[in-house]
Point group: C2
């Protein structure tokens, strides 16, 4: 576990910049009353909300649509023992607005595997926390 | 999102082998009725349970001790679009048995930042799912 003084808190802009660097994050939700997590491809929309693409009718869609979820992304260097993590918490919803769907058809998240049919899930950016792990040689 | 036919399910032995290759995973739990997630250093105990080390009295300890949590680790190659993810679900508990504590003092998880005082959390291996992402050029 990482102690508090080993971290530097990240501001919103730093969190956005780092999230843009990684193609995979993890959506954290509740499924049948238990904690659940799933790695997903994602992008950030212009308002900083997180966008996921998933198969229609999937278990994920039913579990998150309308509910508060967490979304986490990170990158750690096991040699240097440095890295960062960002956690976005907010309400998830299926994107239904036709203008949004048209706009995001070309710029939204692409799955690493082609989906013949898909829905977009948006996670609103209500709370974000980010931390940079400073590494063993850094002064606290 | 990854479609089902882009994945190969992993058996228990493969999941164990892969988990042993990465130093950081993510514990997924519930905090104040909301989904929560935290990257953590971990190791696997001989019975395949997941071991985390954390500061005593930390928010994590109070949130997970006695509760079912999920633990996730993964590794993705953004160029090849391949990778794997493993999710362990089980009950978490603080390790209190003196024999276990003595045994794990040398072999248990080491935090990337030294903790002057710490507790060990064990996540029992009750349910494990693992998936290998086959990559865009693989036959389904």
């Amino acid at each position: 576990m990482f102690t508090d003084d080993a971290f530097r808190p990240l501001d919103r802009q730093e969190c956005l910049r780092l999230l843009a660097k990684v193609p995979v994050g993890r959506v954290v939700y509740t499924l049948r009353a238990l904690p659940a997590v799933l790695p997903v491809n994602f992008t950030l929309d212009t308002d900083a909300s997180v966008l996921l693409r998933t198969a229609p009718g999937s278990e994920l869609v039913h579990a998150v649509d309308g509910f508060v979820v967490a979304f986490e992304a990170d990158d750690f260097d096991p040699v240097a023992r440095t890295g960062w993590s960002v956690i976005v918490t907010g309400r998830a919803s299926v994107v239904t607005d036709p203008a949004d769907l048209a706009r995001l058809s070309g710029t939204g998240p692409a799955s690493w595997m082609p989906l013949p049919d898909s829905v977009l899930i948006r996670i609103e950016w209500e709370l974000v926390t980010g931390r940079e792990l400073l590494g063993a040689c850094s002064a606290a």
